[in-house]
Symmetry: C2
Amino acid sequence: MSHAESGDVVADREDPRGDPARPVTISYIAESAGVSVPTVSKVINGRSGVAADTRAKVEALISQYGYRRPTPATRSNMMELVFEQLEHMWGVEIIRGVERVARQNRVGVVLTEFGPERSAIHYWIDDTLARRPDCVVSVAQLSDEQRDLLRARGIPFVVFDPTVELPDGVPFVGATNWTGGRSATRHLIQLGHRRIATIAGPDRVLCCRARLDGYRSAMEAAGLPVDPDLVARADLTTEDGHAAALRLLDRPGRPSAIVTGNDLQALGVYQAARELGLRIPADLSVVGFDDLPVAALVEPPLTTVHQPLTEMAVAATELALALGRGEKTAQIGFELATTLTVRASTAAPPR
Amino acid sequence: MSHAESGDVVADREDPRGDPARPVTISYIAESAGVSVPTVSKVINGRSGVAADTRAKVEALISQYGYRRPTPATRSNMMELVFEQLEHMWGVEIIRGVERVARQNRVGVVLTEFGPERSAIHYWIDDTLARRPDCVVSVAQLSDEQRDLLRARGIPFVVFDPTVELPDGVPFVGATNWTGGRSATRHLIQLGHRRIATIAGPDRVLCCRARLDGYRSAMEAAGLPVDPDLVARADLTTEDGHAAALRLLDRPGRPSAIVTGNDLQALGVYQAARELGLRIPADLSVVGFDDLPVAALVEPPLTTVHQPLTEMAVAATELALALGRGEKTAQIGFELATTLTVRASTAAPPR
């Protein structure tokens, strides 16, 4: 599909251009200025990272050629939903929320999983620009360049549960991770626990840092010291949660409770406790995070911080579609509230 | 989108028609014959359910107007994936298989969940015909009419794990459910169990009937009677598995083992056993079906029949895309092998 077909054009036939038969696209401006397409996108979108003289040249051409950012004249009634990997148990929770809103709006959802080596990312942006979706909901990490390309085509996007800090102005929907980590820890403190460990997820994942800081904040508010020996790091898997729990529990002065980074890690703690002959919750209290369907099914049923994944997906999709219709929305970024679901994996500490 | 735009046309300008300016579409033939579009589709596709004189009239018009079934000249590089509901834990396993093949073929996947009241089904077929996908993979039940409409447009479809008996010639990919039910039961017999109960899924679900018959077949092969009191029915949920297990276990002469219809039911059996103070596997052996990720995480880890959902989805998508390219495939329907995954929920019966 050429640029002319894909809508990236608002030609002004009266402008003095080298080749009036060619439509005014970003590519055309880039070519005329001798710079890259992403550079032109950055200038159009007022983003940083462009040298002053380049910016001046591009702006002069934009003005001269009469380029206007395209406003989609026709809606495709299609949207894009992208995931890095669908391995997570919560994939379905998110997809269901997106599908619910898609049905209400009669919008087709193109689902893309970038896959193990992120192989699909190389063609996804090209194919997405060609498909001209009304909007994008991204559970994956998009690069600055990809975001620029979407912006330049007037395709709005919303980041679902951002894993890294986003520049101001990038629409997102997340959950109150800091508050969730805090309420999980406070619940244990109120039960009487003092030696409370945490298994935090990787530092590179933003929500994990927020959850860890929520733990620290609750400890501090209760006047309890944060013992560095009781803060473990592990990937958000059952295996890594299991290994971290063994390190925390298989030694003298073990904690009486563990706040985990997610439910899968908590299931790893369950395995470690069984191996060490520790009963949950009599000997050890455990709190998860996410409230996956599995949390209610394990023995004992897991106390966990409920993350409203489906509602978050609903909100992200509604926001993205509203932006796609050109509506001014009250907020372009927000976090939905987590809530503590108390089940049977937490109790008072052993005497 | 009109029929002319959507490709449902191969006009032969030399044919003697009432209005040579109108393209020869199925609608046009239906209108001329005074019958419905699905009726014309049935005739074109050689399906039953059309009165002889109607069939003769339609065939005469097809011959007269020179209608040929359209062969898609251009590929859209899009495919459709439809689910009834995504509640099942195995949704992600299926989607991952489809996405893997879609990446290899650089095909966009439009995902539709029909939803709680199947509300999306009403517009999905219209929107799908308008989107002109290369093929459809359906985890949902399509009606005869929907199948006819897809056929008439030359859009091939593959049914994933059919829940009802399909007419001959409908492409599908399933799993060897009968063999799976048989090997689950034989495993228990080999451990020494004699009083083996089964919780079967609903009769309306084809795979459940196959699994139940596999149970019966293994019992018969071992010369064991099938006690009707040991055959329960329940929906494929943890709640219903729990209720059925209580009925089977909370009485004299209880079984020493239960073959369930799926893993969720098996988790319900776990709950019932705990409530009744029965240890798994010392007092009661349990076998699941599906091998969802949760099966390895519960305590004790669940012995279950592995259903290769991702591989089935890969096969279904490859088949659908091959049909979409107009290839003659060696098989249009097949079942992938199930395998028994022995974990810790099965052991010899109590003495």
